[in-house]
């Protein structure tokens, strides 16, 4: 087919499309609506998963974690391990690691004058911690843990309310040492934090690492080492480097093994988005085929005439396919632009705190930020173009198969 021919085909296709303006407009609206829905919904589903991922990684936290082999199943003081040795430190201080921290993390009970609650006690070194996680939390009153020797304790706002206590008051933390003797200590509350994940406010209390070690009688031992790489979804290389230092005392695990729900969500999302797009497209395709069929039917005589004048069946096939293509591309452009226009104003995040407790069950945070990825635009466009052309093939094929004489005779 020459360039000249192509130009004519495109021009005829364009004119044919607008012969019935209303019909084409309705179809365009349908395609655009479909494309808009595909991209809008994907952006939200991805945003949801990203939010879960960020929150999940923050409250785990750490892209890679190193524990005593039994700690994951049984997060107990007995399953502590020594702090990282020189060799491991060399890897941890390399450029591939953006942050790491070794911390004490054991279940404990906190008691105020009024109430008692079960919590997770974290003994941390604040110098390492802020870059790493608990990034959802902001200090509401007082201050955060100052150094590894911190004698005070930092608790969540929700826990503070339950315990009916406040900054400056004292609480007692009770846990056990490795010999199962009760280990307890009085702490002054030095800070209260708020978190976008409300469960964190009830769950975590922070103190200095050295303080925790001496209270629990585990000098030089920690419960976990958390490591962050550049990108949570791309940590394989780093993981291989770190796991090379595994010993019977300490085993490293990536986040998707630690929280299989999170790993699963991140993994199935691509498949989910594609299935959703195809379902939308299928609903669309009936209308598409129908419109093209009608367009071909009402032109039977015209097609017959063109064939009688020497137009090849293949050219007629191209002709109808070209109409389909133009229709699809127009719909894609409008749909993509509307999607952009509706999502961009929402990029700051949508506040869903009114249903916070429900979202919590799904492990989601209360602010939903849609995530626009090029992948989704490409995915939606390919689904529409590829399946659309496939759907358009039947009418086009039919049109090219008319016998000139019969077609001309048709009324």
């Amino acid at each position: 087919m020459t360039h000249q021919n192509l130009k004519i085909i495109v021009r005829i296709a364009w004119r044919n499309l607008w012969r019935n303006r209303r019909r084409t407009t309705i179809m365009l609206v349908a395609i655009s609506l479909g494309v808009w829905a595909m991209i809008f919904m994907s952006a939200f589903m991805r945003g949801m998963v990203n939010g879960m991922l960020v929150d999940g990684l923050n409250s785990l936290p750490g892209h890679i974690q190193i524990h005593h082999p039994d700690y994951v199943d049984d997060p107990n003081i007995e399953n502590s391990m020594p702090e990282p040795n020189e060799e491991l430190r060399a890897v941890l201080n390399s450029d591939a690691v953006t942050a790491w921290s070794a911390r004490v993390r054991v279940p404990a009970m906190i008691t105020s004058e009024r109430e008692s609650r079960g919590v997770m006690l974290l003994g941390i070194d604040p110098e390492y911690e802020p870059q790493l996680g608990f990034g959802n939390s902001v200090i509401q009153r007082g201050r955060f843990v100052a150094d590894p020797n911190e004698q005070g304790i930092v608790i969540g706002e929700k826990l503070r309310a339950t315990l009916e206590t406040q900054v400056g008051k004292r609480v007692v933390i009770m846990s056990q040492d490795p010999q199962n003797n009760v280990a307890d200590r009085g702490f002054k509350i030095v800070g209260v934090f708020k978190s976008s994940v409300v469960a964190d406010e009830e769950m975590f209390v922070f103190t200095g690492k050295l303080t925790a070690q001496s209270m629990l009688r585990i000098p030089g031992m920690v419960s976990e080492i958390a490591v962050n790489g550049e990108d949570a979804r791309d940590i394989e290389t780093l993981f291989t480097q770190i796991s090379a230092h595994d010993s019977p005392q300490q085993v490293s695990l990536p986040w998707y093994a630690l929280n299989s729900y999170l790993g699963l969500m991140a993994n199935v999302m691509d498949g989910f988005v594609l299935v959703f797009m195809i379902i939308i497209f299928l609903a669309l395709s009936f209308g598409l085929v129908n419109t093209l069929m009608m367009a071909v039917f009402e032109r039977v005589r015209e097609i017959g005439l063109m064939q009688a004048l020497g137009m090849k069946p293949a050219t007629i096939l191209y002709q109808v396919m070209c109409e389909t293509f133009i229709l699809l591309v127009l719909g894609l452009i409008i749909g993509n632009l509307t999607a952009l226009a509706t999502i961009l104003p929402l990029m700051d995040g949508i506040d869903l705190s009114s249903i916070a407790q429900g979202l919590q069950m799904a492990g989601m945070s209360t602010v939903l930020t849609p995530s626009l990825t090029t992948l989704d635009f490409v995915l939606a466009s390919s689904v529409v173009i590829v399946l659309g052309l496939l759907a358009g093939f039947m009418p086009a094929w039919k049109a090219s198969r008319y016998r000139p004489v019969e077609a001309l005779a048709k009324t």
Partner: protein, 411 residues
């Protein structure tokens, strides 16, 4: 009758076009029937499991206890109150008391939530007694025995017959301690319950934690979810008669007791309806296009019948009737096939890999069973039909503006 016949025949003037439009409806209807049934089945199970596992349909509590469950916000003389309620109203009741305490076995110490229950009546309101996998349920309200979840037993490293020491504070602020024997271990399959629940006899609880006959909540179990309004009314009346003037007792329904549950359901349902909405709109646009075409190509015909005295209104009605018939066709076939799919999965259950991790978060078993009911099957398809009719208004109303003479001249 004649109009009906006419409409039916008109539909089949373009067999392929009608079928394609109907197919779009059938496809969407099947999808809607299946996913709505699945969703409703899922919600029912979520609600049922949560209510049966712990919260019951209603709870009577001291004002403020729901927001901040503190040891001193009690229902006074709970044993007397609950037995009077049993005599005066037909519902099933069980009294409870609950607090946090430090539980120590020989090897481990954890802060856990302890609930004191009436062994006689608790099985009438919650299902836990039936899920005891080792040993037995509590059988005396005052014996020093404990029944706990599988995961908690594992974490505490205790088995049947082992002793657990409970340390906490009494209602009056005194030091409270007790030693209980593990009488049973339950395996509910729900991670929350298995990890965090521990039951002792109510009388034992009251003695140990210096409750002086008080408790925290009376759980009410009803036969139906919807019965809670009547029951609340009746219980309030009785409470006004029974309880002393100083106490401010509140009756909370299951929605208030499990705020996350309803929100999770709402969030899920809303996001699902976004997708359904897009599907339905796409079908409606398809119907609009088909009917518009069918009206346009019949303009001359309409002109003729109008000049013979048929009112434009009649013709509009005819077009609407055609859409209605097409909608019915889509509805009947879609519902039939969709229903068959639902019935099949209702029989075998639906499972996909990784579902267990997701399901557990929402108190769901690892296999989903859709619920088939008039509502779940008809809800979606009826909306599809309504939107198809609304979409037909555009072509149908155009007819009203037709003038017989011009119409007859139309090409």
């Amino acid at each position: 009758m004649l109009t009906l016949k006419l409409a039916w025949r008109n539909l089949w003037r373009h067999k392929r076009r009608t079928w394609l439009t109907a197919m779009a409806m059938i496809f969407s209807n099947m999808l809607l029937v299946f996913s709505i049934s699945l969703q409703l089945g899922q919600y029912d199970m979520m609600i049922g499991n949560t209510l049966k596992m712990f919260s019951g349909n209603l709870q009577i509590q001291q004002q403020g206890y729901l927001d901040a469950p503190k040891l001193d916000r009690t229902v006074s003389d709970i044993n007397t109150l609950v037995s009077s309620l049993r005599q005066r109203t037909p519902y099933r009741y069980a009294a409870r008391a609950s607090t946090f305490a430090l539980a120590s076995s020989q090897e481990r110490t954890f802060g856990i939530q302890i609930t004191g229950v009436e062994p006689e009546f608790e099985p009438q309101v919650t299902a836990l007694s039936g899920l005891v996998s080792e040993g037995r349920y509590l059988n005396s309200s005052s014996a020093p025995e404990i029944v706990l979840g599988k995961v908690m037993a594992k974490n505490l490293k205790v088995s049947l017959g082992d002793e657990v020491t409970l340390l906490g504070s009494g209602k009056d602020g005194s030091f409270a301690a007790g030693i209980v024997t593990v009488a049973g271990i339950f395996d509910s399959g729900l991670s929350d319950a298995d990890r965090a629940m521990a039951l002792v006899g109510l009388n034992y609880f009251q003695e140990t934690f210096a409750m002086r006959g008080d408790g925290h909540s009376i759980v009410v179990s009803l036969d139906t979810l919807e019965g809670d309004v009547d029951a609340t009314q009746q219980i309030r009346q009785q409470l006004a008669l029974l309880a002393d003037q100083e106490s401010k007792l509140k009756v909370h329904n299951w929605r208030a007791l499990n705020p996350g549950l309803e929100q999770a359901i709402q969030a899920d349902f809303t996001s699902a309806w976004f997708m359904y909405g897009v599907l339905i709109l796409l079908v409606a646009l398809g119907v609009m296009n088909t009917q518009l075409m069918s009206v346009l190509e019949r303009t001359r015909e309409f002109g003729v019948v109008m000049s013979l005295g048929v009112k434009p209104r009649m013709i509009s009605a005819l077009v609407m009737l055609e859409s209605l018939l097409m909608g019915m066709l889509g509805l009947v076939i879609g519902v039939a096939f969709g229903g068959l799919i639902v019935l099949y999965f209702q029989h075998v259950g639906l499972y996909f890999p990784g579902m267990e991790e997701m399901a557990q978060r929402f108190n769901l078993p690892g296999r989903l069973y859709p619920e088939i009911s008039v509502l779940s099957v008809l809800m979606g398809p009826v909306v599809v039909m309504m939107f198809s009719l609304v979409a037909t208004l555009y072509p149908a109303l155009r007819i009203l503006r037709l003038h017989p003479v011009e119409a007859m001249r139309a090409t």
